[in-house]
């Protein structure tokens, strides 16, 4: 039987516009309530780059430099060149671009290693070349499991392909020397021209594939694979270029990279004695310099970091109310992120003297930043699935200017760790054009997809 309220609505609908429908239904949930006090104190709100950059004169240094325009358009190669040709004025821009590429390729290395682990580890088949043990060793090294890496290298065949033998020997020497991270010195001989980074350059990772192996089948087909080691080396080379551009900011760069580091890497110091230049945060996902410190701390400490940085970090302050009984609650965090966006947008209007077209995209960056911060906290808090929910929500909102390649590739790496090649492939495909070195990770990801799909429950194609 139809409720009276619905009947009223049906009648109303015959006379008026659809907008009437919003008022119908007696038991509709209340509209989204805005937190009247805002999610940030006025003091913290004022520290966010969005509010500080609401004034034209504050943004002028960025808007007048072609390097920054290219950087925010994700034209990394051109941005690097523009910054490099700007001398001292472009140094921090150059450093940030190189640092973002370092973060990107660190996650790409993780993606390639995880995809290889799931394809050639527990899902290995008899026909796989025995050299795939090398890829399992690299994955284990990245994961901070040197004993597993040793065991994997020990399983390599005596007649392994020459390229694999060379790469395995480099990792073996690192293991033999005690497996103290970083392994860069041991791996130095593997760095070809494609992963050597000069200031202002973005090399393509060198020729692909790194390995052409022979399948152990009657047909003896060739199996093409990439080496995540190359992506790691490329990442480290960009990191070195960033630090060379502004040596005084080395500690800032460590904080900047911390959320994207490999599991084997130790976290950086979580205090910062120097001020953070706006070049490190403008149009990014730390709202203030204090957020960089908080995010680095949160990436290993989780919830306790929120309390530690509550007074100084806007993102810690936004995440704090979403923590209940020591756990990040995704639904609460979604509200917090939405309210933060609204609060930031209102504050920009006030600071900038009216509505401006850049306010909504800047506010969106704040909302996405909040979700990503909560995701980092949840990850370190052993809330794997909750962190995943936040990750997916952040991904859904990462469109247009908020489509940060570093975050996108990190989602792909996370998916690969879950044996979920479907979304990872879309993300990699989308990024591949601008980051051709990513191909090194793509080989294993493609095999992961084929292997899982050929073992999946059947489903007929549908329209």
């Amino acid at each position: 039987m139809m409720k009276a309220s619905s009947i009223r609505c049906a009648l109303a609908g015959s006379l008026v516009l659809v907008s009437m429908a919003a008022a119908c239904g007696t038991d509709s949930p209340p509209p989204a309530e805005k937190d009247p006090a805002g999610v940030l104190s006025a003091e913290l709100l004022a520290t966010t780059w969005q509010v500080r950059m609401a004034r034209d004169e504050a943004r002028a240094p960025f808007e007048s430099a072609s390097g920054w325009a290219l950087h925010f358009q994700r034209e990394q190669g051109q941005a690097l060149q523009a910054f490099a040709s700007s001398g001292e004025a472009g140094a921090r821009g150059l450093a940030r671009s190189h640092a973002e590429l370092a973060a990107f390729y660190r996650q790409a290395a993780l993606l390639g290693a995880r995809a290889a682990r799931h394809t050639f580890g527990e899902a290995r088949v008899d026909e796989d070349p025995l050299e795939v043990h090398y890829l399992l060793a690299v994955d284990a090294a990245f994961a901070g499991k040197p004993d597993e890496a040793r065991a994997a290298l020990a399983s390599l065949p005596p007649d392994a392909a020459a390229e694999v033998v060379k790469a395995a020997a480099a990792w073996q020497s690192w293991l033999d020397a005690g497996a103290v991270w970083p392994p860069d010195a041991a791996l130095a001989g593997l760095a070809g021209p494609g992963v050597q980074v000069m200031a202002g350059q973005n090399p393509d990772g060198g020729p692909h594939p790194q390995f052409r192996l022979t399948e152990r089948s009657a047909e003896a087909r060739t199996v093409e694979l990439g080496d995540p080691t190359q992506l790691y080396l490329l990442s480290r080379a960009h990191e070195a270029a960033a630090k060379a551009a502004v040596p005084a900011d080395a500690a800032v760069i460590d904080l900047f990279l911390a959320p994207w580091s490999l599991p084997a890497e130790a976290g950086p110091a979580t205090e910062l004695a120097i001020p953070v230049d706006d070049s490190w945060i403008f149009a990014g996902f730390a709202l203030s310099g204090a957020d960089l410190v908080f995010l680095a701390d949160a990436s290993t400490a989780g919830v306790p970091a929120v309390q530690r940085h509550l007074a100084s970090s806007p993102l810690a302050a936004v995440v704090a109310p979403a923590i209940v009984d020591g756990q990040v609650v995704p639904d609460k965090m979604l509200d917090q992120a939405a309210w933060l966006g609204q609060q930031v947008e209102a504050a920009m209007r006030e600071a900038g003297g009216g509505e401006q077209s850049f306010h909504p995209p800047f506010a969106r960056l704040a909302s996405v930043a909040a979700l990503r911060a909560a995701m980092i906290v949840a990850d370190a808090n052993d809330q794997y699935r909750d962190a995943g929910v936040l990750r997916v929500n952040a991904l859904d909102r990462s469109v247009e200017g908020a489509a940060d390649p570093v975050f996108l590739i990190s989602v792909a790496a996370w998916d690969a760790g879950n044996r979920n090649a479907l979304r990872a492939q879309e993300l990699v495909h989308r990024l591949h054009r601008r980051y051709p070195a990513l191909q090194a990770a793509r080989y294993s990801l493609d095999f992961l997809h084929i292997r899982t799909s050929r073992n999946a429950a059947p489903a007929a194609p549908v329209h």
Partner: protein, 527 residues
């Protein structure tokens, strides 16, 4: 759980421009679907809306967590491999009730398997399972063993079928036209029924499901503009597929969130290779060059030429570009080339008389059909393609085909009176395209729309089926891509990302790849 007396969606007629909307009340959620489900019987899903709807009503034996991708089951208590991996003994959880109140047990599991194995069950899904399942034996009340024709180390990955209730059927030969297809009985979180204008899903109390939404109301999607206005005004709470031109409006609205829906969909124009001039591959190649995909995409989907990271990406073969099966060496045809097209038509013996192409002294009129619901995603695509064909010198007769007719006539290969059919195929993790291109012989080619026949293509598809290794499977599909891009049983158009929109009052609404509603238990309405 006490079910709420949720009202039927009230249809609001609000003038020509606004069309039909619906009311969402309390924990009732209304949403726009691409079309009505063609069948709620899991053996007969032929459209994505079918899979999505069935996911609400049924439990699949095993499924993947939408977030972590972990393999899970809501109805299996434990399992063990038997017979060296050629079987799996399954213990179902106790206390699960079918929507008619009867208890679920191992007999239902074996009935489902037996129904799939019954050759008189003409289900494409069942046919796939027949390739490796050989039987099912009930051991005791909740315990049964499924046996296979080969050893599997992890058979759970392959056992993703939905359980059917034994007592709802008279025999294991299940036909698609039973009442069950409209009023199914499952053990899933919602009890569903399909009407003429929509479908209703009511929450159902069970030991393994705790849905927090009392009712879902599926509405047939109409004009996309009306859909968008209706969700903004809270007339419905969700839209399954938002066409790209409308996404910016919703993206900038604080009350609505756009959500990714991982689905591999690609669009095509199937050509009737057995009819008239289209039997000549040179004519098909000419048509491939007469169609201007860039213009079509811009007019219908709103994507400008050269736009990066577009939700709509051209394809040159039967896979999306991100798939490892896609042969990246085969170039896409983005623009028309009328001079080359003309040369090919002439080479094939077509005569240009008064600007119209003639075949055997008669003007060519192409009968062009399009699956009607696609018009919501790509408005006026049929007309634009028709116009391009006219510009190329062909008379044409444009027709929209309902989802039901598509299912009964087109998918079955009976729509041979058409020359061109515009459609799309959707895939999840499983990307087997053999049924689309293999000649219709025996159990092969079940979805071969125009009964296309090419011995070389058949051989390649068989090579894929026989492939032992991943590289062999990939190489076979790369070869297939090359072959069909050359022989052109289809003109391949593009892949189109799917994005949903849900009101922000809808919480916990995790969307699963392909099946969509797998995590419906976590959905709730209100803060």
């Amino acid at each position: 759980m006490a079910l709420r007396d949720a009202p039927i969606a009230a249809a609001l007629r609000a003038g020509l421009a606004l069309g039909v909307a619906a009311l969402g009340t309390g924990s009732t959620l209304a949403y726009f679907e691409e079309s009505l489900p063609t069948s709620m019987n899991p053996l007969y899903a032929s459209a994505m809306v079918d899979y999505r709807s069935q996911e609400l009503v049924f439990d699949r034996l095993w499924f993947h967590d939408a977030i972590t991708n972990e393999l899970k089951s809501r109805i299996v208590e434990r399992y063990e491999l038997v017979d060296g991996g050629k079987g799996v003994r399954i213990t179902l959880i106790s206390g699960v009730k079918w929507h008619d109140g009867k208890p679920m047990n191992a007999k239902d599991l074996c009935f489902t398997v037996d129904a799939m194995l019954d050759k008189n069950t003409p289900s494409p899904v069942a046919q796939e399972y027949r390739q490796f399942i050989t039987g099912c034996e009930v051991t005791s009340g909740q315990v049964a063993t499924i046996s296979f024709n080969r050893v599997f180390h992890n058979p759970r990955e392959r056992l993703g079928f939905a359980l059917l209730p034994r007592e709802a059927f008279e025999s294991t030969a299940i036909s698609p036209d039973l009442e069950f297809s409209a009023k199914p009985i499952g053990t899933g979180p919602m009890k569903g029924s399909r009407g003429r204008r929509g479908a209703i899903f009511d929450a159902f109390a069970n030991v393994h499901h705790t849905p927090q939404v009392a009712q879902l109301q599926l509405q047939d999607a109409g004009d996309p503009l009306v859909q968008v206005k209706t969700i903004i005004n809270n007339g419905v709470q969700g839209i399954i597929a938002v066409p790209p031109p409308y996404r910016p409006d919703l993206s900038s609205n604080d009350e609505v969130a756009l959500k990714s829906y991982d689905l591999r969909s690609w669009w095509f124009i199937a050509l009737n290779t057995n009819k008239g001039a289209l039997a000549d591959p040179r004519v098909r190649k000419g048509l491939n060059l007469a169609i201007d995909r860039t213009a079509l995409r811009e007019f219908t989907i709103g994507v400008k030429a050269g736009e990066e990271n577009s939700p709509c990406e051209f394809i040159s073969g039967p896979f999306v570009q991100s798939s490892p099966y896609y042969n990246r060496a085969v170039p896409t045809v983005d623009r028309s080339n009328k001079a080359q097209a003309k040369a090919l038509f002439e080479e094939a013996g077509l005569k240009d008389t008064g600007g119209r192409w003639h075949y055997k002294n008669a003007p060519i009129t192409l009968r062009v059909g399009m699956l009607a619901p696609l018009n919501n995603e790509a408005p006026d695509l049929l007309s634009y393609i028709g116009n391009q064909l006219s510009d190329a010198g062909f008379d044409r007769n444009d027709l929209k085909i309902s989802a039901d007719e598509w299912k009964t006539n087109v998918l079955t290969g009976k729509a041979t009176d058409y020359d061109l059919l515009i459609g799309k195929w959707s895939f999840g993790l499983y990307e087997d395209v053999n049924h689309l291109f293999h000649s219709r012989t025996g159990n092969a080619g079940k979805l071969n729309l125009f009964n296309y026949k090419n011995a070389d293509v058949d051989a390649t598809l068989q090579a894929y089926d026989r492939a032992v290794t991943d590289t062999a499977a990939r190489d076979a599909y790369h070869k297939l891509h090359t072959q069909v891009a050359e022989d052109l049983p289809y003109l391949f158009l593009w892949k189109l990302d799917t994005r949903s929109a849900w009101r922000t009052e809808v919480r916990g609404n995790i969307i699963s790849a392909y099946y969509y509603f797998t995590e419906i238990d976590s959905w709730k309405y209100g803060r």
